[in-house]
Structure formats: C-alpha cells, structure tokens
C-alpha cells in the first residue's frame, strides 16, 4: 500500500474543470515536487489531498483511509497531514508558541506543559525559539513560514503538504525556509511540495510531477524531468522558468 493513492481525481469549480483526471501514488518517505505553469491545477491537486477542496470525482486514500471532507473522521485524518501555505496563515491573535500548541492542546488533549515543551523543541529545530513569545505580525515572512512549519509538525504528521511555501517571500528569505524543508526531507518525512524553486525540486525531490492543463503531463526523477524532458510542454515550461 502506498502512502497516498490518488485515482481518477477530477475537480470542477462551476464549469471550470481544473483537474481532469489524475492518478498517482506517493510512497512513504518520498519527496514529490509538483511543478507547472500557474493555473495548471497544482495547488488544487495539493489541496485535494487533505480535502481542503473536496474532489468532484475520484478517490484519495492516505494510509488506506478515504479522504472525504464530509466524512465524520476527516478531522482525525487531517491531523496526520500537515500543510504549509503560501501566505503562512499564522493565527495573528496568538503568540508564536500558542500557534504551535493550539492544535495539540485542542486535538490531542495534551497537557499545556508537555505541549509547550514539544513546541519549544520544534521552534528550536526551525531556529525560531527566541521568538516563542512574539506575535506573528512582528515577524518577517521567512520567520513566519518557519513558525508555520513548526505549527504543522506539532501534530506529528506523517505527510506534509507545501503549497508554494516560498512564493510570497522576499528573495533573501527563501533560503532559510528551504533549509528547514531540506532537513525535514533528510529526516525521512513524506512530502508533497508545489514549488517554483527548480533548484530545490532538482536537489531534494525523489520524484517530480509536471502538471499542465489539469493532468500530469510528465513525471519522473528530477534528472529525467529536468535533464531530459520528453513532453514538449515540459520542455517549453522549463525553458521559460530556467531562463528567468
């Protein structure tokens, strides 16, 4: 059984069919980078995995459990799937450490002391321990994103989804976030990363999916996709982004 099994995934918004049938397995411990032009459906694909978007058709299984936004067990299933967003989405009314502890406190019924101990370890691992008592709006973009990663990890997920985690960052802050993600990948985390960072995709991922027009147009190892792309659309896309 694969970690994630996606069969016949389609997603429509009104008359706009964003995903037109995606089949894909993701194995435990794999780092999968999803690349493609904007509007191609990459983010929608990612958001379907934890049912932030309910698929119009098709099925998604994570560890053998069907992901269904309307099912009663969806909250439990989401606990095991962390997500990091383009715009961080930290809770601005909570301090950094409270952002990290809120889900363990509410969902795992953890004691406050223990939740804070775990949170401090995580904040230290992303280099944000000294900002534990700061409010999110006083942080830089890179700092916010590192806290957001710690917040997602606090639920001890076995799968992490990253939705363009560095796209909203100033260029000098991209590195600090990618470093954290690289270490997470080295630690064996299963990761699905929608990204425009081709260098990261090439170095860190085990597999690259090129999504275009709502389908997986090409997939393979980074060397295959970047070094010897077969699909014309992949070739054009890579030419465009690597020129920039």
């Amino acid at each position: 059984m694969s970690k994630v099994e996606i069969r016949g995934l389609k997603k429509r918004f009104g008359n706009n069919e964003v995903l037109k049938g995606i089949d894909c397995n993701i194995e435990a411990g794999q780092v999968v980078c999803v690349i493609g032009p904007s509007g191609s459906g990459k983010s929608t694909f990612l958001r379907c995995i934890n049912c932030l978007e309910q698929p119009t058709e098709g099925t998604i299984y994570v560890d053998g459990n069907l992901m269904d936004a309307n099912a009663s067990n969806i909250d439990e299933l989401r606990e095991d799937v962390g997500m990091v967003f383009q715009h961080f989405n930290l809770f601005p009314h909570l301090s950094v450490i409270d952002n990290v502890t809120i889900a363990p406190l509410l969902r795992k019924k953890m004691e406050k002391d223990e939740a804070e101990k775990v949170a401090r370890e995580l904040l230290e691992s992303v280099g944000m321990l000294e900002k534990a008592d700061a409010m999110p709006n006083s942080l830089s973009g890179g700092q916010k994103q590192r806290v957001a990663i710690a917040r997602a990890l606090a639920m001890r997920p076995s799968l992490m989804l990253f939705d363009e985690p560095t796209s909203a960052l100033d260029p000098e802050m991209v590195g600090e976030v990618l470093d954290v993600m690289r270490r997470l990948a080295e630690g064996g985390m299963t990761m699905v990363v929608v990204t425009h960072e081709m260098g990261f995709a090439r170095q860190v991922s085990d597999r690259v999916l090129f999504i275009d027009g709502g389908v997986i147009a090409e997939e393979g190892t980074p060397d295959q996709v970047f070094g010897n792309p077969q699909n014309e659309r992949t070739q054009n896309f890579l030419k465009m982004v690597l020129q920039a």
């Binding site: 989405n89 930290l90 809770f91 509410l106 969902r107 942080l139 917040r151």
Partner: protein, 222 residues
C-alpha cells in the same frame, strides 16, 4: 429652590434611575451579544433554514421601530399569551432582540472579514469546524468589529430611555417625574444629559484603550 437644592434633591432619584438604566442595559447587552453571535453564525451557515431564520430575524428587527417592538412585547405578546410581564423583563427582551439584530450584522461582517486562509490553516491542523470558529475566527472577528460593536452598545444604553414608555423608572423616566413635581425642565434635563454622557463617554474611552490593547497591527510587521 436654588439650583443646588434642586440638585441635592434630584440626584439620589436620578442616580437610582441611572442604576436601573445600567442594569437594564447590561442584562440586555449580555443577551444581545449571545443572540448576535448565534444569529451571525446562522446567517453564514450553508443550511438554508438556519440562514433564513437569521435573515428574517434581522429584517424584522431592522425594519421596525424599537418603540413598536417594545409595545408589541409588553402589551401585544402578553395579551396574546395571557401572561403577565413586568416592565423590566419586557424592556430587556425588546432591547436584547433589537441590539441582537444589529450586532448580528456587525458580527457577520467581522467574521467575513477574517481571511479564509485562517479557516484553512485551522482545519488542516485537524481542528473541527466548531473549534475553528471558537478559537480562531471569533477572536479575530471581534477585534475587527470592536468599534462597531461598542457603537451598538452605546446606542443600546441610550435606547433604554425608550423603555420609559412602559413605565420603567429608569433615568429618563426619573427626570420626567422630577420635572412633573418641580417644573424645572431646563436644569433637570441637563442633569439627565450629564449622567448619560458621563457613562457613555467613559465607555468610548475604555473602548479606545481596549482597541489599542488587542490590536494585531504591528508597525514593523508587514
């Protein structure tokens, strides 16, 4: 009778009226806040029945005068249901529903102003819909609509004066009774005015302080 004699004679009664005014306002606003939050959540619900109840309630409240609502509850409803109700209870019900209707719209606006990403982040962590609303959305929505909310509180405190018409001896009513006895309209209305002003102005000052205290804006942030 000199002004100061009038003041000394009137003030105990006016203060007694003020206490009743504040009690009525406090009770009404507590219920109004609960009604307002529930109605706002119902109004944002995808369930058409809940949505309809909220929309209908807000429409009825906004499209009729508080005076008529008060008469309806105190005279109309008691007659139809064949029950007795004291003026304080009837006034509290009328004011709770009235302010609840307006607060419902204020909260709905505040909740809608919270970024969708907040809900997505909370749900992605496994928080339930109710946990997300209570721990993530409402604390931010209340901050956003704090100025409008305090504005409605001030209006409702002043609206307690309408409950005078069903015979509750609150501040305005006390003023009228003192004038009926002393014929000193000018001075007594000034006293009444000053008492209302002092209380409500203090609340607006406190609200400004609170607004700064709970503000999430940080100048150095983005």
């Amino acid at each position: 009778m000199s002004f100061f004699e009038l003041l000394a004679e009137s003030m105990p009664l006016l203060l007694q009226g003020l206490v009743l005014t504040l009690e009525l306002a406090a009770v009404s606003l507590v219920f109004a806040m609960v009604i307002g939050v529930l109605s706002a959540l119902m109004g944002l619900s995808k369930n058409p029945v809940l949505h309809g109840i909220s929309a209908g309630f807000v429409a009825v409240i906004r499209c009729s005068p508080l005076l008529v609502q008060t008469f309806f509850i105190y005279f109309g409803l008691t007659e139809a249901l064949d029950i007795r109700m004291d003026a304080f209870t009837a006034g509290a019900i009328a004011l709770s529903l009235n302010a609840g209707g307006y607060l419902s719209e204020i909260f709905r606006g505040g909740i809608q102003a919270v970024d969708d990403g907040q809900t997505e982040a909370a749900r992605s962590l496994g928080l339930s819909s109710a946990q997300t609303t209570w721990h993530i959305i409402l604390p931010q929505a209340i901050r956003i609509c704090l100025p409008s909310m305090v504005n409605q509180w001030c209006i409702t405190i002043k609206d307690t004066s309408i409950i005078c018409v069903i015979g509750l001896a609150e501040l305005t009513c006390m003023g009228q009774m003192i004038i009926a006895r002393t014929y000193r309209s000018f001075e007594v209305w000034i006293m009444v005015f000053v008492l209302y002003f002092a209380v409500i102005y203090a609340i607006t000052i406190a609200s400004r302080y609170l607004e700064r205290k709970v503000s999430l804006d940080v100048k150095s942030g983005d």
